[in-house]
């Protein structure tokens, strides 16, 4: 598909806008999209990733943050990440901690995961306890919203985990 604006280059950005209840979709090439300075979405948590990525460096430079080197594990550089929006490995989340924190806050409104607590294949006692607390929160929620099938599923998981924890002591 060619760019709606210049009709010359391949469109890579598909922008849907709603103005006065009229929805319209534009297909733009990178150059024309940049020229148009794509408007960010409604509210902080709805900002498009590309916009947030473009903003990222600026704020940090102002805060006087030092440039970080490439990730020691996968070799990803911050510039690469800004271009693609994808990190190269789980260590990138440590390497680019400061940048990613800012980004996560803008994308999701915070950085703290409050969902499922992962229990790895060979868990430690602490991991089991953390998971148990997480499951109890979920059970409460399921009962509250009267999702009884889900509640039964979580109850089984809690029972298994409690049995496993008892073996520890």
């Amino acid at each position: 598909m060619l760019c709606d604006h210049c009709g010359d280059r391949e469109a890579v950005i598909h922008l849907t806008q709603i103005v006065n209840n009229q929805m319209s979709t534009y297909h733009l090439c990178e150059g024309c999209a940049a020229e148009k300075g794509l408007e960010p979405g409604v509210g902080a948590t709805n900002a498009a990733l590309s916009d947030v990525l473009a903003q990222m460096g600026k704020g940090l430079a102002a805060e006087g943050a030092r440039a970080v080197g490439p990730c020691a594990y996968c070799g990803m550089r911050l510039e690469d990440f800004k271009k693609t929006g994808r990190v190269g490995c789980s260590h990138c989340y440590v390497t680019f901690d400061a940048h990613l924190r800012t980004l996560l806050r803008r994308l999701h409104g915070g950085t703290q995961h409050v969902g499922k607590v992962y229990l790895p294949p060979d868990p430690t006692k602490e991991e089991c306890q953390e998971r148990l607390a997480g499951l109890r929160r979920k059970l409460e929620k399921a009962v509250e919203s009267e999702d009884f099938e889900r509640a039964a599923q979580i109850r089984d998981q809690i029972r298994d985990l409690e049995a496993a924890l008892e073996c520890w002591t």
């Binding site: 948590t45 594990y73 990190v87 950085t111 703290q112 995961h113 409050v114 499922k116 229990l119």
Partner: protein
């Protein structure tokens, strides 16, 4: 392995239109993004890592109650048509079928449970994309099924997990729960009364997002909208699901109201639109896919408001899937030019409607032997 996907109905359980609100909500999908510890993510991954991951997931799948007896597909060994048939059935993503017709790299695969409602894509943007696809509005059930699979695989595979950020993903937009729940809704009423813009704007203000039929970056066709959660971090899975469900129920209500308004204030216009759409599908000799989608939208509305007795949503769903370009090529057994494709498409639609979509309008009685359409 190719034989395994030749069954004509592979992955098409949702066509049955058996779920709640199936005339408005086509399907519900919930997916969880997971990555394995100790391997690079997709932008930096090596081929050997991909193969190792696929092998590990395959072995874990053998131990999984959910996936036992299901199908394992190595996409790099499938031909282009088979890969794109899977794409058109929404069983794999664009990313997984390879770019510009080229085969995807080795280690790219799909493992599905028997019945294909639940499965896992391997080495997509994330190492694992666990997913569940159901007919109608069934968010809780879909999440429960995919969470069960996540438990089974997670007890054997070390997922990349951060004490603060939660499950780590290649793209920071998925981090935390890794959960994306989406519902494919058909909203012709809201489009016709020109309220759709307002509704979609409302959706985005509520922290949700909408896309076209084929997900990210795709256009809206046939009045189908995919509504899904935008954020994945900072809320738990149940809250994300509940919030989406609540909003979708409101959207359904608005759509029903819109339809009532239309049937009350503009019945003749709507009836005419619906019958014209039906007539074109039933007799046209050449149809583009977009045209079929738009006409089907009218006919679907007609079935929903009981104007086309005897026609089932199932038949419409079937037409929608089988008139996609690669499905037509597969049926023809060769590649088709666009013009040929349009002819094959019209023939297919005519044949299906002649066998399972004959509708007799009020006051018209056609003799049993009267009408024969080839």
């Amino acid at each position: 392995m190719l034989d395994l996907i030749t069954p004509a109905d592979f992955g098409l359980g949702w066509l049955e239109a058996s779920g709640p609100h199936a005339d408005i909500v086509l399907s519900t999908r919930v997916r969880l993004a997971r990555n394995l510890q100790g391997y690079r993510f997709s932008p930096c991954i090596r081929e050997s890592e991909r193969e190792q991951i696929f092998e590990r997931v395959r072995r874990a799948a053998e131990q999984s109650e959910t996936l036992k007896g299901g199908v394992v597909l190595d996409l790099s060994t499938l031909d282009r048509v088979s890969r794109h048939v899977l794409l058109e059935r929404h069983l794999v993503s664009r990313e997984l079928v390879g770019e510009n017709g080229a085969a995807p790299p080795r280690g790219t695969g799909l493992i599905t449970a028997p019945g294909e409602q639940v499965g896992v894509m391997v080495n997509e943007e994330d190492h694992l994309r666990l997913q569940c696809l159901l007919s109608g509005l069934r968010l809780r059930e879909a999440y429960r099924l995919v969470d069960q699979l996540e438990e089974e695989l997670g007890s054997q595979l070390p997922f990349a997990y951060h004490h603060e950020f939660g499950y780590l993903t290649s793209c920071p937009t998925n981090v935390g729960t890794g959960l994306r729940a989406s519902v494919l809704v058909h909203l012709p009423g809201l489009v016709l009364i020109k309220e759709i813009g307002k509704v979609l704007q409302g959706i985005t203000q509520l922290g949700l997002t909408f896309r076209g039929l084929y997900g990210e970056g795709s256009e809206v066709v046939g009045n189908f909208f995919q509504i899904s959660n935008q954020t994945t971090l900072g809320k738990n899975e149940e809250d994300l699901i509940e919030h989406l469900e609540k909003v979708v129920r409101q959207v359904i209500q608005h759509e029903m109201q819109a339809r009532n308004t239309l049937m009350r204030d503009a019945r003749l216009v709507i009836e005419d639109k619906i019958w014209r759409a039906y007539g074109l599908l039933r007799y046209a000799r050449s149809l583009s896919f977009e045209e079929v989608m738009n006409l089907l939208s009218g006919v679907r509305l007609g079935v929903s408001v009981n104007l086309l007795p005897g026609l089932r949503v199932y038949t419409l769903n079937k037409i929608m899937v089988h008139t996609q370009p690669t499905h037509l090529e597969q049926a023809a057994g060769r590649s088709l030019s666009e013009a040929e494709s349009d002819l094959h498409r019209a023939t297919y639609v005519r044949r299906i409607l002649a066998t399972e979509g004959r509708v007799v309008a009020e006051g018209e009685r056609v003799g049993e032997t009267g009408e024969r359409q080839g």
